[in-house]
């Protein structure tokens, strides 16, 4: 370590001495001549930088574009518009980028100081200035129109038949709640929260909370069916970041937010498409939330309708975790996940007609 520092310092001292020496040399050679010479070098470097820079931009793209998500396209229907808008924006900003950087470095090289050259005294030109005020304004208006059309489609109301799931962020993980067979999420109040038996603070007095299903870390949604997340937080601001779906929404304590999208591919299909057997739709927390911010991973399992029904059939209402003795299927505490639980409709029907339970 100290060897590295020593070498660096030595390197600096060498550069320093060279620099001081070059100053003396310049004075000896005559300032005018040496200035012209260094000018030529820097002018040349301008062009070199431009060429190497553009090559670098191209090379960087070759290296890293495949590592972005755009190679496989959006995994949500709405996200397709994000990708298409991205291409338009790249086309516009990319061409401006190339044109202006070329002009900048080319002008720097071409118009470097030459003895006896007369400059062109050009303080202003109204036509030119109007041109490059109006053209950017028009181009930007087009981008705004496209962007806002997409924005309003994303932030509009979710379809009525959307699968509704409540997502709650906390330090440091995600809690999901399904509305259950009554299709209503029960009331909750944060002062009821107890990590062991009521992680969301559900109000058990509200009957609609009795069939709500609560899971942690993993949420199941259905391919080709719109999914609406109702998002909140238990403590600080988090954010539900869904890169593959091109979606994102803050989770704010005390202020519910919503986000909806329609997934196009099941997790299995994505594993095949990407050739990565470890592929998973990950929820990344996208708002600084404390020292565990980087560890708040959620998983979205996109499955077919039948796979979803199968999974849902195995889920127990959270009510029975809070009140294990109320669970109808067995008297003992319901931690035994291998036991097949009867589906809700059947339970509620048998509850009405079967006094045994």
């Amino acid at each position: 370590m100290f060897l590295v520092i020593a070498v660096v310092i030595l390197f600096f001292l060498v550069i320093f001495q060279i620099a001081k020496a070059s100053e003396y040399v310049a004075i000896l050679k005559g300032e005018k001549n040496s200035k012209l010479q260094t000018n030529k070098i820097n002018g040349f470097l301008m062009v070199v930088f431009l060429v190497l820079g553009l090559i670098g931009v191209w090379y960087c793209n070759q290296l890293f574009f495949p590592k972005t998500l755009f190679r496989f396209g959006s995994a949500s229907v709405q996200g397709e518009k994000v990708d298409s808008m991205l291409w338009v924006t790249i086309a516009v900003t990319g061409s401006v980028f190339i044109a202006t950087q070329i002009l900048l470095f080319w002008f720097a090289f071409k118009y470097q100081e030459k003895p006896g050259k007369k400059v062109f005294y050009f303080p202003h030109n109204t036509n030119l200035e109007l041109l490059w005020t109006v053209v950017p304004a028009i181009v930007l208006t087009v981008l705004v129109v496209i962007g806002l059309r997409n924005w309003f489609s994303f932030t509009g109301e979710a379809p009525k038949d959307a699968l509704v799931v409540e997502v709650t962020g906390k330090q440091f993980g995600w809690i999901f709640r399904y509305p259950g067979s009554d299709n209503q999420l029960g009331k909750k109040y944060y002062r009821n929260i107890d990590n062991a038996s009521n992680s969301l603070g559900l109000v058990w007095d509200d009957k609609m909370s009795h069939d709500d299903i609560v899971t942690e870390q993993t949420v199941y949604i259905i391919k080709d069916k719109p999914c609406k997340f109702i998002i909140g937080s238990r403590d600080v601001i988090h954010d539900v970041g869904l890169s593959q779906f091109r979606m994102k929404m803050d989770a704010v304590p005390g202020i519910p937010t919503t986000m909806w999208f329609t997934p196009k591919y099941t997790t299995k299909e994505m594993q095949e498409r990407t050739g990565n057997p470890n592929f998973a739709y990950e929820i990344s927390c996208d708002q600084m939330c404390g020292n565990g911010h980087y560890s708040m991973k959620g998983i979205i399992q996109v499955v077919t309708q039948s796979e979803y029904d199968e999974w849902m059939a195995k889920q127990k209402p959270y009510y029975y975790t809070a009140f294990p003795d109320k669970e109808p299927s067995n008297a003992k505490p319901s931690v035994d996940s291998t036991k097949k639980v009867v589906a809700f409709k059947e339970i509620s029907n048998t509850q009405k007609s079967n006094s045994k339970i």
Partner: protein, 607 residues
């Protein structure tokens, strides 16, 4: 030691009438102690240097912090025993802890945005250039000016002290969103460290306001004879708009902090509602909105980036014009575009909040206004390009940095168009794309503006030149390095890679960038080391740099070059010169340059 013609300077008040000073042309010993000359100075030039050197200190500290956290990002699986030697419990086993990582990124952001790029940039050049370029003997209130530096200094001391408290400095990101920043139970860094952070920021706001009011008053009231507003150099216009932005927006930040102090210490619920913290249980607060803070913060936060950018733009205009030996193209358009940017700066803040769940219609208004701000920015770029066209360019180090500024502003500005479009921002918010964008367009570009200003005006500050060769080395390594560091980050962002993550190894979606992260960290260390080279050049040249032999080494038109090589108190020993023209008559009617103090000839062309 150069002989300084000291003037009879009535403390606190600059006299407008020159006749008062005319009969002071004889040597008048104005008794200065070391303390009154170098410490509690009321001379704007000394205060400028104080801002500059303090800013440099914070730049080194903040830059060092970035090297440390990039060590974690580039080498997440490695341990460095020497780290534990330096950082102690914050690097147990030679590995930076998550607590330390988040404290480093937070302090890096805070220190660089406020202490380096606001105080170090505006503080230095507004103080140095305004009186000299408008033709005044000092600022409107030299006493308030001195106070503005010392409030900045004390703010720095408080921030420095926060690094050494037991629970650590604040670690919730420089944006300090509550509830994280309001609740010590949510993060150790939100305990004492946060209290000190807020105090430091409050003192800093005071410093900025004192400075800003002074700059505005001086520019409006103390211009010399003939210096109408439309003859002012663009540096002054830029600094003027910057000061207005600061005076109007910093108080809102201050109010946001006051509410935060109340929530933290006095049981209020401005930002807090429905909160259950692990370990602390359910909090009693209800009814507050965490989003309120974001509105108050970004109402300053957005103008703040223009406060950082505008002075750099003004100086670049000046330096490009001087070294191309051509007038700046479109002087009135340059003023107009700065004016438009200043107004629009106040109307776009919620583009930082597109994903907070705000009303989509509100979001759409901010999209419109944000993309609108691209128009005056584009105008400025085209004007700079045209300034170079058919010029006779001298590549002084200052000129190189000015050209580099334009390149970086183009790159970073264009990605702003991506982010300003809310539908795209949904995907890119809080990813490395944002980091790439603001580092290029604000961090590096404004830093280049600052370097350009230092190389260009160092001779005026110290009567000596910075070493040219070191300047060229500094420029070429830094611009190459900066692009190598931040350009690839755009791709990481497009992949959705979140910012402010300590480690990516558990993320299937983001762990493919390990090699790139290591590369970026390596380049970052090289670029940081190069800045040390620059600092060595700076301090060495103050004492041993090549001395100036002429009053006006750059052949510049502006007033600061008409003072003696080392201007004393009051800047001009005799009367303040009168101004007859704008600052950009380079190459007019075949003349190389025509100073602002040269009367208009009878046969001169009209432009």
């Amino acid at each position: 030691m150069s002989s300084e013609v000291a003037l009879d300077f009535h403390s606190g008040v600059s006299s407008l009438t020159d006749s008062h000073h005319a009969h002071d042309a004889h040597e008048h010993h104005h008794h200065e102690t070391f303390i009154s000359k170098y410490v509690f100075s009321m001379d704007h030039k000394m205060i400028a240097k104080q801002f500059l050197i303090t800013g440099m200190f914070w730049a080194v500290l903040g830059g060092l912090m970035s090297v440390l956290f990039r060590l974690q990002l580039g080498y997440p699986d490695s341990t460095f025993p020497w780290l534990e030697d330096i950082l102690g419990k914050w690097a147990k086993g030679g590995h930076i802890t998550p607590e330390a990582y988040y404290a480093l990124v937070t302090t890096h952001g805070t220190v660089l945005v406020f202490f380096v790029l606001t105080a170090g940039l505006s503080g230095t050049f507004a103080n140095f250039l305004i009186p000299l370029q408008v033709g005044a003997r000092d600022m409107a209130s030299p006493f308030m000016n001195m106070l503005s530096f010392w409030f900045f200094f004390i703010a720095g001391v408080v921030m420095l002290s926060s690094i050494f408290v037991e629970t650590g400095p604040f670690s919730g990101g420089w944006t300090a969103y509550p509830p994280l920043s309001a609740l010590g139970s949510a993060s150790p860094g939100s305990k004492t460290g946060m209290d000190l952070w807020i105090i430091s920021m409050a003192l800093f706001v005071v410093s900025s306001l004192l400075g800003g009011l002074n700059y505005i008053a001086t520019i409006l009231n103390m211009r010399t004879k003939g210096m109408s507003m439309t003859r002012l150099p663009l540096t002054i216009w830029a600094l003027f708009f910057t000061a207005v932005l600061g005076v109007l927006s910093f108080p809102v930040l201050f109010s946001g902090f006051i509410l935060l102090i109340f929530d933290r210490n006095f049981g209020t619920s401005f930002y807090l509602s429905d909160i259950f913290v692990n370990g602390a249980g359910a909090l009693p607060n209800e009814g507050g909105s965490a989003i309120l803070y974001q509105h108050l913060f970004w109402f300053l936060g957005h103008p703040e980036v223009y406060i950082i950018l505008l002075p750099a733009m003004g100086m670049v205009s000046e330096i490009l014009s001087t070294n191309a030996r051509k007038p700046i193209f479109g002087y009135m358009a340059m003023i107009g575009s700065m004016f438009a940017i200043a107004i629009l700066a106040f109307l776009v803040w919620a583009h930082h909040m597109f994903v907070t769940g705000l009303n989509p219609f509100l979001g759409s208004i901010f999209v419109l206004l944000t993309l609108l701000i691209a128009v005056p920015s584009a105008i400025k770029v085209f004007n700079w390009l045209t300034t170079l066209w058919r010029g006779n360019i001298r590549f002084t180090p200052a000129m190189l940095f000015a050209i580099g500024f334009v390149s970086l502003f183009i790159s970073g500005g264009l990605t702003g168009i991506w982010l300003g479009n809310s539908a795209l921002d949904i995907h890119l918010h809080d990813t490395y794309f944002v980091i790439a964008h603001f580092h290029i367009v604000m961090g590096v570009a404004s830093m280049f503006g600052m370097f350009a200003g230092i190389y260009h005006w160092f001779p005026k500050m110290y009567g000596r030149f910075l070493n040219n060769t070191l300047g060229y080395v500094h420029f070429w390594i830094t611009i190459t390095g900066a692009y190598l560091i931040f350009w690839p980050m755009h791709y990481e962002g497009l992949a959705g890679m979140p910012r402010r993550y300590y480690d990516y190894s558990i993320w299937e979606s983001f762990k493919q960038f390990g090699d790139l992260n290591r590369f970026i960290s390596t380049v970052a260390m090289i670029v940081f080391a190069t800045q040390i080279l620059f600092l060595a050049n700076f301090f060495y040249s103050i004492f041993k740099g090549r001395k100036l032999r002429s009053l006006n080494p750059w052949g510049s038109n502006t007033l600061e070059w008409t003072t003696p090589i080392k201007p004393g108190h009051g800047n001009w020993p005799g009367e303040i010169p009168e101004v007859y023209r704008w600052a950009y008559d380079y190459g007019k009617d075949g003349a190389d340059f025509i100073s602002q103090t040269t009367p208009v000839g009878a046969d001169e062309s009209v432009h």
